[in-house]
C-alpha cells in the first residue's frame, strides 16, 4: 500500500509540472464484477462441503458493489490527464446458522487499481436547466492488484474453526467509458459509465509465493474484475 501511494504521488507531481489546471478528483460509484472462476469455486464448495444441511445456501455471490477512487492530474480545454487510484471490492458467502452454531464460507475480493486516465471532452455542450453538460470520452488503463481471501469459518457452541487462505493476482486492464461533465465554478461533477476489461492476468497465486498458483483443469484461476463501472467524479480544479 505504501508503494502504491508513492507511485501515485510521483505521477501526480509529474503531470502537475505540465498542467495548466491542476485538479484532484474523488470518485465513487458502483461496479459489477464477473468473477466467473470464483463463482465456480463457490458452487463447488457448496456442493462438496461436508455439511449436508439443505438450508446451506449462497447468500451472496459477488454482487454489484461500491467502488472508490481518487485521481489527480491536469486539465486543459478539451482533455485531461490524471493518475488514478481506485479501490473496488466485492465478495461471496455461503452461510448457515442455527441454535447450535454457524458456518460461513466467504470469498472477499479487493482490487487495488493504479493507472492513468485520459478524458477527451466534446466541444458540444448540452444545455439543461440553465446548466451546460459537456460529454466526454474516458479511458483508464493500468495495473490492478487483487486480494482474494477465502475464509471457512465453523462455529459450534463456543468453539470456532477458521481456515483462511490469502491469494493474490496481478493484472492489467483498460477501461473505456463516457460521461457528462458539469462545470460549476471550480468544481466539475462528472457522472460516467465505463467497462472494466482485464488484459493481462497473472492468475491467482498464494500470498508471498508467486510460484504457487491456483489452477483447475481449464487453466489458471482468475479473479475476474470484468464488468461495468458506473460512477460519479467530483473534481476540484486549482
Amino acid at each position: 500500500m505504501k508503494c502504491i501511494c508513492i507511485i501515485f504521488i510521483c505521477i501526480s507531481f509529474n503531470t502537475f509540472a505540465y498542467s495548466q489546471n491542476f485538479e484532484i478528483s474523488l470518485r465513487t460509484g458502483f461496479g459489477s464484477f464477473q468473477m466467473r472462476d470464483l463463482k465456480e469455486i463457490q458452487d463447488e464448495v457448496l456442493e462438496q462441503t461436508k455439511i449436508t444441511i439443505s438450508d446451506l445456501k449462497k447468500t451472496s455471490s459477488f454482487p454489484v458493489y461500491s467502488v472508490f477512487g481518487i485521481s489527480s492530474g491536469i486539465s486543459m480545454t478539451d482533455y485531461s490527464i490524471s493518475a488514478i487510484f481506485n479501490y473496488e471490492s466485492t465478495g461471496s458467502r455461503i452461510a448457515y446458522n442455527d441454535y447450535s452454531g454457524s458456518y460461513y464460507f466467504d470469498q472477499i475480493a479487493k482490487n487495488f487499481i493504479l493507472g492513468g486516465n485520459f478524458k477527451k471532452y466534446s466541444k458540444h455542450r448540452i444545455p439543461l436547466n440553465n446548466y451546460f453538460f459537456k460529454p466526454f470520452f474516458n479511458f483508464n488503463s493500468g495495473i490492478s492488484l487483487s486480494h482474494i481471501t477465502f475464509i471457512d469459518k465453523l462455529t459450534i457452541g463456543d468453539e470456532q474453526l477458521i481456515e483462511k487462505l490469502e491469494l493474490r493476482e496481478v493484472s492489467s486492464f483498460v477501461e473505456p467509458g463516457f460521461g457528462l461533465s458539469l462545470f460549476i465554478s471550480k468544481i466539475k461533477i462528472e457522472p460516467n459509465l465505463s467497462i472494466h476489461i482485464p488484459t493481462y492476468r497473472s492468475g491467482l497465486f498464494l500470498e508471498g509465493n508467486f510460484d504457487v498458483k491456483f489452477e483447475d483443469e481449464d487453466g489458471p484461476i482468475h479473479a475476474s474484475w470484468f464488468g461495468v463501472r458506473m460512477g460519479l467524479n467530483i473534481t476540484f480544479i486549482f
Binding site: I51, I53, D98, S100, L154, I156
Partner: protein, 571 residues
C-alpha cells in the same frame, strides 16, 4: 452375562471372571460407548456391534463397584452440530458389581419332603457375591463318602429342587456352595423313605401271601418284582411275581406253602434309571410254615439240584422247593393213583446225591441209591410244563439217568449241554423232550437231537460244549457253535429243551444278537433278552415277543468288555 435394561441399578454378583454383554439400541446412530468403573473410564467401544466387556473380580477389592455404561448417541436433530456429528445425547446406565473374593459360608438344608411328585430338597439361600452354583450331593447309604452324580444349580435364587425320578431310596443328602474360593458343605441329612416297608408274609390255608406298602412315588415307578430263594442263599433266582401296577401291593401264591426257611426279596424298579435312581431291594427272611402240603392228583415229583419239585401233568406249576429234609414232610394226596415217584436229593454244594423211590400211594420211602456228579447250575427252580410219569429216568441239571427199577441199575448216563437245565424223559429207549424234540443216545452218550419241527438234527459232543447243526435232509454241516463261556449268567429258565440259540458276533461297529428263543406255538411266550457283564452288571434288557428275532446294537461301547454274556429270560 447379559446386562438388562430392566435391571439398571441392580447389584450383580460377579463370582468369576465374566464376559458381560449388553445391547444399546436406538434408531439414532450410536457414536461411542464408554464404560466407567468407579467413575474411571476403563473401556471405550467404537465397534458398536461388539457391546461387551470383560470383568475379572480377582483384580478388584471386595465390595461394590459402580459400573456405568454411557452411550453417546447422535441427536439426529438436523442441526449444524448434528450434521457435523458433534451433537449427541448421552444415555447412562448404572449397575453395581459386587465382588467377594472370600471363602464361602456353608448353608444348611431346610427341609426334605417326600411326596408323589418325588423328593423335594430345600435349602438356605446363599447370600455372598462369589456364588458359582449349588451342588446337590447324593450319597448312597452303601457308600456314604462317595458323591453320586452331583447335581448343579446355577441359579442363586433357586433354593429347592424336586427329583421326580425318586422312587424311594436310602440317601444321605448335602448341599454345597461352589465358589472360586472354595466349597462349603452343608451337614448331611438322611432320607429314609424305604417305600416298601413293611414286607410282610402270611402263610395260611389259602396259600402264601406277601404284602408290602404301596410305593409313594408314582412318577418313576416301574414295577414290583418278588423273588425268592432258599435260605440263606442270596441268589434270588425264582421270580414269583411281577407287576407294573403301583397298587399291586400283595402277592398270593395259591395252594402253596413254604415249609422251610427261605428268603424273599421285593424289588421296585424305576421306570427310568435316569440320574441316581436304582432298584430298591428289600428282603425278609421266613422261617417256614409248619404245615404239610398235598400232592395233586396225577401229579409227579421230580428233582432238581437238591430241590424237589412237585407238579402235575396238566400245567406248569411249581409247588415247592425243598431241601433234603422235605422227604419227611411230604404227604400224598388222597386221589393220587400214579405210579411210584422218584426224586433226587443232594446238598447244595455236593457232587453226589440220592435218588429216592417213593410209594405213589403213601409217598413212603421204598428205596434209594446214590448217584454221583450231580453238577450244574445250582439254585435254579424251574417251572415245568409237563413230565412223564416214567419210573425209569430222572434228569438233573446236566445229567440224565436212565435206570431200571427192577434191577435198580442205572442204564445210562447222558451228557447234556450246560444250557439245558431240566428235561423230562420217557423210558422207551429214546429220551423224549417236550416241545416235540426227540432225543436218542448211543453208547451211553447223547449224540442226536432231532427237532421234529424244523427237521434239523442237532448234535452234541459229550463235553456238552460244542453244538453242531446239520441239515438232516441233505446231511450237510451247517454250523458249529461253541457254547462254552456263553452260557447266560443271568437266570435262565428254559421251556423244555429248546434252549435259546443265541448267536452273536462282535463286528467292527455293531453287535449282533439273534436267535430262536423258544416255542413259537406258545400263546404266552414272552421273554427278555439280557446282556450282562459280570463286571458291570445288567447292560441291556430288551423285552421280546417274536421268537425269531435279531437285534443289532449300534452302541458298540456297550460291548467294550469281552466278558459280555447273553441270556434269555423266559417270562
Amino acid at each position: 452375562m447379559r446386562l438388562s435394561n430392566n435391571a439398571i441399578g441392580d447389584t450383580i454378583n460377579v463370582p468369576i471372571a465374566t464376559n458381560f454383554s449388553f445391547n444399546v439400541s436406538t434408531e439414532n446412530q450410536i457414536n461411542l460407548i464408554q464404560l466407567y468403573l468407579n467413575d474411571n473410564l476403563f473401556q471405550e467401544i467404537r465397534d458398536i456391534p461388539e457391546q461387551r466387556f470383560y470383568f475379572n473380580p480377582t483384580e478388584y477389592p471386595n465390595g461394590i463397584h459402580k459400573l456405568e455404561i454411557v452411550a453417546i448417541v447422535k441427536s439426529e436433530s438436523g442441526s449444524l452440530s448434528d450434521n457435523l456429528n458433534s451433537e449427541n445425547f448421552l444415555f447412562v446406565g448404572t449397575w453395581y458389581l459386587s465382588v467377594d473374593n472370600t471363602p464361602p459360608d456353608a448353608i444348611e438344608i431346610n427341609d426334605i419332603i417326600e411326596s408323589e411328585d418325588g423328593l423335594t430338597i430345600s435349602w438356605e439361600p446363599y447370600h455372598k457375591a462369589n456364588f458359582l452354583n449349588y451342588q446337590i450331593n447324593l450319597h448312597r447309604q452303601e457308600s456314604p463318602n462317595e458323591i453320586y452324580n452331583p447335581f448343579l444349580i446355577k441359579d442363586k435364587d433357586q433354593t429347592s429342587i424336586t427329583f421326580t425320578d425318586y422312587i424311594g431310596q436310602r440317601l444321605q443328602i448335602s448341599v454345597s456352595v461352589n465358589t472360586n474360593y472354595g466349597v462349603a458343605y452343608s451337614s448331611k441329612k438322611l432320607v429314609n423313605s424305604y417305600a416298601i416297608d413293611p414286607l410282610t408274609l402270611d402263610n395260611n390255608d389259602e396259600g402264601f401271601t406277601v404284602s408290602w406298602n404301596k410305593n409313594k412315588f408314582p412318577n418313576n415307578f416301574g414295577s414290583y418284582t418278588l423273588n425268592t430263594s432258599s435260605y440263606p442263599n442270596s441268589n434270588y433266582s425264582l421270580q414269583l411275581f411281577t407287576s407294573p401296577q403301583i397298587i399291586d401291593t400283595s402277592f398270593t401264591y395259591e395252594n402253596s406253602i413254604f415249609t422251610e426257611k427261605l428268603s424273599l426279596q421285593l424289588v421296585i424298579r424305576p421306570k427310568s434309571y435316569d440320574y441316581f435312581q436304582q432298584d430298591i431291594v428289600r428282603t425278609i427272611d421266613y422261617n417256614g410254615a409248619d404245615k404239610s402240603f398235598d400232592i395233586p392228583k396225577n401229579g409227579s415229583l421230580s428233582s432238581f439240584n437238591g430241590n424237589a419239585i412237585l407238579f402235575d401233568f396238566e400245567e406248569i406249576y411249581l409247588y415247592q422247593g425243598l431241601s433234603n429234609q422235605m422227604i419227611n414232610s411230604v404227604r400224598h394226596s388222597n386221589g393220587s393213583k400214579s405210579q411210584d415217584f422218584i426224586l433226587s436229593s443232594s446238598d447244595l454244594n455236593s457232587d453226589s446225591g440220592i435218588i429216592y423211590k417213593l410209594n405213589a400211594e403213601s409217598l413212603g420211602y421204598i428205596e434209594s441209591y446214590n448217584v454221583e456228579v450231580l453238577t450244574g447250575v445250582r439254585n435254579r427252580v424251574l417251572r415245568l410244563k409237563a413230565s412223564s410219569n416214567s419210573n425209569r429216568a430222572i434228569l438233573t441239571s446236566d445229567k440224565c439217568y436212565l435206570f431200571d427199577y427192577e434191577t435198580q441199575v442205572v442204564l445210562a448216563t447222558t451228557g447234556l449241554p450246560p444250557f439245558s437245565e431240566k428235561i423230562d424223559i420217557s423210558a422207551n429207549g429214546n429220551l423224549i423232550l417236550i416241545d416235540n424234540v426227540i432225543y436218542s443216545y448211543e453208547d451211553g452218550e447223547l449224540v442226536v437231537i432231532r427237532d421234529s419241527n424244523t427237521n434239523v438234527q442237532t448234535f452234541f459232543s459229550n463235553t456238552g460244549d460244542i453244538y453242531y447243526e446239520v441239515d438232516q435232509s441233505n446231511n450237510l454241516y451247517i454250523d458249529t457253535f461253541e457254547y462254552k463261556n456263553r452260557t447266560p449268567i443271568n437266570k435262565t429258565v428254559i421251556r423244555g429243551f429248546r434252549a435259546p440259540k443265541i448267536y452273536f458276533s462282535k463286528e467292527e461297529n455293531f453287535f449282533l444278537a439273534s436267535g430262536y428263543y423258544g416255542d413259537d406255538t406258545s400263546d404266552d411266550l414272552s421273554y427278555d433278552l439280557l446282556i450282562v457283564s459280570p463286571s458291570q452288571g445288567m447292560l441291556k434288557n430288551i423285552q421280546v415277543s417274536n421268537p425269531n428275532a435279531s437285534y443289532y446294537f449300534l452302541d458298540n461301547t456297550l460291548f467294550s468288555s469281552d466278558d459280555i454274556k447273553l441270556g434269555v429270560d423266559l417270562n
